[in-house]
């Protein structure tokens, strides 16, 4: 490992990696480029000219139906699911540090939810609301369906975080007279803040883009991913790419804000954190 020269396998794998990244981002890039297609342009290359025409079309309701309604129905559960995922996973993460009756069962239920085929979850929630005679909607059945998908990620992150958490900090706080909630508020939360931002990222994006578990549980009014899926079957104009570029842009914005948040916390910590090792 300390040798200066790279082994030949490095170059082979580097090429593989670059190809994989092109494969990952190439299609998305195509959609974003084609979204700027000229007014006369079609669904495929070549670019007719460059314009914002199709983004403009997004704001003319008659051309593509109720996408802004669908957008609201995606943003709202995304925000609610994000808050609930952070809060519930954090609390459950605290609980799992102690032994309590049913902990193992709960853990396996969460893992089962992660690997359960989404169509089965969706079907079950749909059937439950059907039997109860409650209308399915984004704020009830679909919200629950999203949580069964985001909470496993949240809990697993929290378990990994608390697995590496040094409880000496808490004991120090306790010895200095901090009450339980003060320890959580002023010691635990600041230490694990970057991971909480990570959980929030999973919570929002996985809910905002969820489609499989939403499909049977959302009821009559679609969320944005379902609307897009319905649109693509009879899409004739690049307006669908404009919508795709817009929602991808939003995803990137959320990811960027979260990553910057994590970096900012780290910087701050380096500046104001421990002075250990700085003495001569």
């Amino acid at each position: 490992m300390h040798a200066a020269a790279r082994p030949p396998i490095f170059y082979g794998l580097a090429v593989l990696f670059v190809l994989f990244v092109v494969f990952l981002y190439g299609p998305i890039a195509t959609v974003v480029v084609l979204a700027f297609q000229g007014p006369e342009g079609g669904l495929v290359f070549p670019m007719n000219s460059v314009s914002l025409h199709w983004f403009g079309e997004l704001f003319r309701t008659q051309s593509i139906g109720d996408i802004w309604g669908a957008f609201d129905r995606s943003i709202a559960p995304g925000a609610i699911v994000m808050v609930a995922t952070v809060l519930f996973s954090f609390l459950a993460g605290l609980a799992f540090r102690r032994r309590f009756l049913g902990a193992t069962a709960l853990f396996y239920v969460v893992i089962a939810s992660l690997v359960m085929p989404s169509v089965v979850v969706s079907l079950g929630i749909g059937a439950m609301f059907e039997m109860l005679g409650i209308e399915r909607a984004w704020y009830s059945s679909a919200l629950g369906a999203h949580l069964t998908w985001t909470l496993p990620f949240g809990l697993l992150i929290m378990l990994a975080v608390f697995n590496r958490f040094n409880s000496a900090f808490e004991e120090a706080a306790h010895d200095l007279g901090a009450r339980g909630w003060q320890t959580i508020r002023y010691v635990v939360v600041p230490i694990i803040a970057p991971s909480l931002v990570g959980v929030a990222l999973f919570g929002f994006t996985l809910s905002y883009d969820e489609i499989a578990r939403t499909s049977q549980s959302v009821g009559a009014l679609n969320t944005l991913p379902l609307e897009l899926e319905a649109m693509q079957t009879n899409a004739t104009t690049p307006v669908i790419y404009a919508l795709g570029a817009m929602t991808t842009g939003l995803s990137f914005l959320v990811i960027g804000v979260c990553l910057l948040g994590v970096i900012a916390v780290r910087r701050r910590r380096n500046r104001f954190g421990s002075d250990a090792g700085k003495a001569v």
Binding site: F88, A92, P117, V119, D209
Partner: protein, 319 residues
Amino acid sequence: MTISVRPLGSDIGGSITKPCANPDSGVRSGEATVMRRKLPIVAYLEALPLAVVFLLFFVVPIALVVVVSFFSYETYQILIPDFTLDNFREVFSEAVTYRTYFITVKFCLIVWAITSVLGFFIAYFLAFQLRSRTSQTVLLLVCSIPFWTSIVIRMIAWIPLLGRNGLVNRMLLGIGVVDRPQEWLLYSELAVILGYVHLYTLMMIVPIFNSMVRIDRSLIEAATDAGANTFQVLQTIILPRSKTGIAVGSIFVIALVMGDFVTVDVLGGGQVASVGKQIATQLSYLQFPPAAANAMILLLAVIVMIALLVRIVDIRKEL
């Protein structure tokens, strides 16, 4: 007397208690331990919101799928409480069922083979061929970012590439490999497999990478000093120690491919039918009981495949 409270997860796995990051994490003062012991109810309260969500939206619904699979149904009454095996009989008597299961398992095996090999080598590149921690983090992030964007967009994005007038066809025509646009690129099994690999390779990379960074580097140095070449190190040290990661990734990929209906719908057009797609179609006609029976069989198939994998490795070691 110090009562040692084991760190998190001791009751989950037992095997993940090895003191790794901070050696003193398992040692607590007696007072703190007593404080914790006095309030077991707090743990229940903390776990309650999560438990309620999973009870209401996971445990009960899955139990209902089991129950509903024995119900009967009519056109205007979609759920009639009953105990009939008709739904299962119906599922097993239709030729389409065998076709969909065959094609779903086929997708599963092909996608598993591609993603595990690709995932292994990319994880190996990230874990062992990069020298700085920063470049590892950045490149892993580059692989992960698409995971947080829309799956539907990532599938629709193949259309301008693989379509009749898409980029790939233009290129093939341009270099003269074919003399007319190829129709089998899009809305075909190939497109569906490509879509799966595109979506799910990350599910292999992350757990395998996770296993690989735990491998003791001194083992590799020892092997190298003893004259092993890169390939031998890969085969005798890295591959066996990445098994758990490969198994975790495999479980993800199998579960996702077996239950998928969105990718098949978008990239298969009307040409490809998987089990998930069949269930979704039944549901669109509000045929809950046969869909539930079909879902039960699908679930059984997934459980059998995962059980086989879990026999090979202990997943709980991975957290």
